[in-house]
């Protein structure tokens, strides 16, 4: 899916969006009857993430192309799943979108800010401000309790203690852990740990929630509950980009980006019931 590079002006980005999706149903579906967290101002038209011709090449002996000219837009308030077999580049996609890694070429705009040319320092700031991570292995700090884990991103933004605790408590209550604030990760079940991790991702009110196999370490029932929680936070207006290799997990999303060998193979748009509606081939 190669397209000429576009100047990053708003009108052309939205025009680009349409040409990319080739589907009136998609744009209609995205902006229809669900709430959008940022209201109806001009920013609404700025997508949460816009990748243009992103290529990532690793030099391990011979060059390995983890991503090849990937162009993808994640609209604000959308729920996107990225699927693909191992080595398809979906983890690399997560890393570059989450500002953990920089692409070899191409451009990535996160909430309207070009991140590929940023310094490590600026990228770290963007990561803290605009991205919330949810990992397969939860990645909680073992010696900190739930409240402290959730409040941690705010520590690095210089928030005061009272403010942090208030905000973290609020988010933990939202994910149903209002009665587990002082429990450490080893005192919580897997599902509860993942809820803490989701609360941590939401505490900074990020432009994008990046989830990497969030149900991979959970049994199916707990996994279903966690997917239900993702639906809830999606309904609250959050933007979700989720990497998974489970079809039934991916089907919770509005659309599925299928990746293969570092390229987008096809994009499926799903209706509310979770069934494939449109296919967008390369």
């Amino acid at each position: 899916m190669r397209r000429p590079p576009l100047p990053p002006s708003l009108t052309e980005v939205s025009g680009f969006l349409t040409s990319w999706s080739q589907s009136p149903a998609l744009s209609g579906g995205l902006n229809s009857d669900r709430p959008v967290a940022w209201g109806m101002d001009a920013r609404e038209t700025v997508p949460a993430v816009a990748l243009r011709e992103v290529t990532k090449t690793y030099q391990v002996g011979e060059p390995v192309h983890a991503l090849r000219d990937v162009t993808l837009t994640v609209p604000r308030g959308s729920y996107t799943a990225v699927m693909g077999p191992s080595g398809s580049g979906k983890s690399t996609l997560m890393n570059v979108v989450g500002c953990l890694d920089t692409p070899t070429s191409g451009s990535i705009e996160l909430d309207g800010e070009e991140v590929t040319t940023m310094s490590d320092r600026e990228r770290t700031r963007i990561r803290g401000d605009k991205v919330g991570f949810v990992f397969q292995t939860f990645n909680l700090m073992p010696r900190l309790d739930a409240l402290e884990n959730v409040a941690m991103p705010l520590v690095f933004r210089g928030a005061g203690r009272a403010e942090r605790n208030e905000r973290a408590t609020e988010v933990l209550e939202r994910v149903g852990l209002g009665n587990r604030l002082r429990h450490r990760p080893n005192e919580l079940s897997g599902g509860q740990r993942q809820r803490v991790a989701i609360a941590r991702a939401l505490v900074t009110d990020p432009a994008l929630v990046l989830a990497d196999e969030p149900t991979g370490n959970l049994d199916s029932e707990t996994g279903r509950q966690i997917m239900g929680l993702f639906e809830d936070i999606y309904d609250e207006g959050n933007t979700i980009l989720m990497v998974t290799h489970e079809r039934y997990v991916a089907e919770h999303a509005e659309r599925i980006v299928n990746m293969l060998d570092g390229e987008i193979e096809r994009i499926e748009d799903l209706d509310a019931a979770g069934a494939p509606e449109t296919e967008v081939g390369p």
Binding site: R121, R127, M141, R143, F156
Partner: protein, 402 residues
Amino acid sequence: MKPVENLRISWRSIRGHKLRSTLTTLGVIIGIAAVITFVTLGASLQEDIVGQIGGEEASSILTWVGPEGQDQAPGFGAEPVFSPADVGGIADIETVETVIPYTIWLSDRLRVGEETVIRQEAVRITSPAFLEDEDFRAGANFAAGTNEAVLTPNAAAMFPTNVSVGDSITVLRGNRTRSLSVVGILNASDSLGAVEGFQGTPRIYTSPEAVGETRFLFLYVEATGPETVDATKEDVRRYLEEDSVASVDLPADYVFKLQTSEDLLSQVREILNLLTGFVTGIALISLVVGSIGIANIMLVSVTERTREIGIMKAVGAQRRDVLTLFLTEAVILGLVGAVVGAVLGAVVGFAATEVIGIDAYVFPLQWALIAAAIGILVGIVSGLYPAWNAARTDPIEALRYE
């Protein structure tokens, strides 16, 4: 990140590994405590000795003859060359207040009544002025030109039946016998000057006339005050070298030695500082070992917490935040070690002065501050590399780390 948060998080992670942190700190504690102990001991010993030498003797000059050469101990190689005429000659110098001769009169035996003890170095020939400022347990000072004698308490106890005022002591040398009449016993047996050494051996003070002695090993020249002592020293030297009877009797290669208490003090200080420096140097080695311990533990800690570092970076911790966290942890370990070590060193130093029997206790405050500074420095130096390692950890790798 706010500094107070940084401190809180670092302190938490130290407390999270209590045993490890304690053992790490122990290395620094032992190092700092050893340094402080030895420095305290050195300073206390110096103070003790300086207190014995200094003070009222600030204006006195010890004079003797000895082989040419520098930095010899007071009285080294002394020969009995000073005559009563020289005592008079020096006393005539304007800035000289008094001249006190002093010599060890060698005896074979001492007898009180029927009891005889063998003692060679007990009898000290001097003038009453030598005991002027001393306290007497019994009796009073001896009079010049008589056979009166004053004993130290341990000299009085030398004989099976204790000697008291009014007794008479017979001193024997070869086939000569002299009788001394005990008129006083001093309050303490402590050494009264450099020529008596530091031990305070049993001594019997009497005048030259009592045993017919006409040559002295030492002259204590008392200047009119501390401000004239240096000029007086040169005047006395000139007299001795040019006009004295002693210069006639001077053995070959011998020169007159004149030492003020200030000369002596600086010599003692030099020796003690050398000694203290030497021992402190050894103690510093243990401090170095302690700091290597911190570096090692911090490296292990960084590796162990790779994943946590990854999480922190993923949620927005800057390199600087991570660096500061680990550096703070190392500095806290070093600082706690230094503070505890300084206190421990002060206590052990005090205990050591008591056990060894040093009468002074000087806590070197500046060294305690230096110790705190060293503790922080040790923390920074040994924590810098591990912290830097932590800061540049790649979050992707770190999050994958098991």
